[in-house]
Each structure stands twice: as structure tokens, then as C-alpha cells.
């Protein structure tokens, strides 16, 4: 699919950067003229993906998280969140609602939210090599609403 626009952002896996990542993604998505609800869905999904990387990818150190956002033909927003951390051993288990290894302050609903707020979610991971989450959402053109 043809790429019409793209941005990349790289930051350390500090929790303070969660807000930076979702704001950047939401500012980028604004060019598709999304509704408030669509924008909320995008912000929340980016927040979940980046939080997963902050909490799980680098448990004993800091590492790099890469956020890429693209506008594809047909009004599709594609968001990629990539880390080079420990990886997810069992992706199906991680995607199960309410499953978490994150303790009291996590709910285990991150992947479930990404799945239902976006149109498509793909997760690739390899132990010791990191995780890549790719999400797509079609933003409806105003005239069709």
C-alpha cells in the first residue's frame, strides 16, 4: 500500500515518554481529520503499546522504543511500536484479556483495547530480540460519515 506520509520518533523506555508518544501520534493522525472518538481510540492504543514496551521490554534497564506512524492510501493510519527488549514468549497468552505479569497497577487489558479500538493488530516477537506491534485504523472521510 502506498505510503503518503510518515514520521518516526525514538525515545528511552521511561514512563514519562508515554504521554509524548501518544501526543505525537495524535498530532500526526490529525491530518486525516478524525473525530474526537477516533482520535481517542488512536491515543489510547498508542499509550497501551508504548506502556507495554516500557513495563515489559526492558525489565532491568532502559532501552530504546521506536514509534512510527504512517498515512497509507485510503485514509489508513498505521502505527508501529518497536523495541529490542526481552520479547514475549507466549503472544497468545499476552493477548488474553486480564492476563498480566505487571502487578497491581496493570489491568491486563492493553492488547484487548488495541484490538478493539483499532481495525487491525499484528504482534511479532522473538525472545531476546524484541517486539513489534503494528496497528492500523481507517479514518472515515468526513463526507461518508
Amino acid at each position: 500500500m502506498k505510503i503518503l506520509n510518515e514520521m518516526k520518533l525514538e525515545f528511552l523506555s521511561r514512563s514519562a515518554n508515554e504521554a509524548l508518544a501518544r501526543s505525537a501520534a495524535s498530532q500526526f493522525a490529525a491530518q486525516l481529520d478524525p473525530t474526537l472518538e477516533e482520535l481517542g481510540d488512536i491515543k489510547t492504543s498508542v499509550s497501551e503499546a508504548v506502556t507495554n514496551a516500557v513495563v515489559h521490554a526492558y525489565p532491568d534497564s532502559l532501552g530504546i522504543i521506536r514509534l512510527q506512524a504512517r498515512v497509507l492510501e485510503g485514509g489508513i493510519l498505521e502505527i508501529t511500536v518497536r523495541d529490542k527488549g526481552v520479547g514475549i514468549e507466549d503472544i497468545d497468552q499476552a493477548r488474553t484479556p486480564l492476563y498480566t505479569t505487571g502487578g497491581e497497577e496493570r489491568s491486563g487489558m492493553g492488547f484487548t483495547i488495541m484490538e478493539s479500538f483499532m481495525d487491525r493488530l499484528r504482534v511479532r516477537s522473538a525472545a531476546g530480540r524484541g517486539t513489534t506491534v503494528v496497528m492500523r485504523k481507517r479514518v472515515m472521510p468526513r463526507l461518508l460519515r
Binding site: 508515554e18 504521554a19 499509550s47 516500557v54 497497577e105
Partner: protein, 107 residues
């Protein structure tokens, strides 16, 4: 992230404001627990109208508040929930455990 509270009779009103994400959740829970431990209200109203953003971290904060109250017989109501936060809470089925009050437009 801001947490303010106000005691009205036996009811404790907790007001959350700003962005509730993973970065803010720990401090929010610490402040909420502090207010609950100090007053041990029989009824607590968690007012979310000041939230400009909430992700799944909000689920953990609501359920954490609920569990703390329940441990001594207190009750929790969630009130004035912005649209988007309501979507996150109902997706997780939180509304089946804790009464969710009126939904207000997201700011």
C-alpha cells in the same frame, strides 16, 4: 495528574484530573489510598470529569480503589465519566462490578 478530595458527611468525593496513564497511576493510587485510610468513608464517589485522557491504567486505579473500600465494607461509585474513559471501563467489564454514573462528553 491531580487527585483532590472532599469529605461530605460519610461520603468521600475523590476528583481525578489530567491524564491518567501508567506513568500517573502509581501516584494516583498512593494518594487515593492515603485519603481512604485517613477517613475510611462508607461511601466513596470517584469523580472522573477532570480526566483529559485515560487508558487501561484507569481500570487498575478504579479496581484498586474498589478493593481497598471493600476490604472494610465501604462502597464505591464512579461518577461523571468522560465518554472515552467510559468506553475503556465498560470494555473491561468494570461496570459489572462498580456502578458507573453519568457519562459526560470528553474534553
Amino acid at each position: 495528574m491531580r487527585v483532590n478530595w472532599e469529605l461530605r458527611g460519610s461520603r468521600l468525593f475523590l476528583y481525578l484530573g489530567g491524564e491518567l496513564d501508567h506513568h500517573a497511576a502509581h501516584q494516583a493510587l498512593v494518594e487515593i489510598s492515603g485519603a481512604l485510610d485517613e477517613h475510611m468513608p462508607l461511601h466513596c464517589v470517584l469523580d472522573l470529569s477532570g480526566l483529559t485522557f485515560m487508558d487501561s491504567s484507569g481500570i487498575a486505579v478504579v479496581l484498586g480503589t474498589y478493593r481497598r473500600l471493600k476490604s472494610y465494607g465501604g462502597e464505591l461509585t464512579v461518577a461523571k465519566v468522560p465518554n472515552h474513559a467510559a468506553k475503556v471501563l465498560t470494555m473491561a467489564g468494570v461496570d459489572r462490578i462498580v456502578p458507573i454514573g453519568a457519562v459526560v462528553p470528553s474534553s
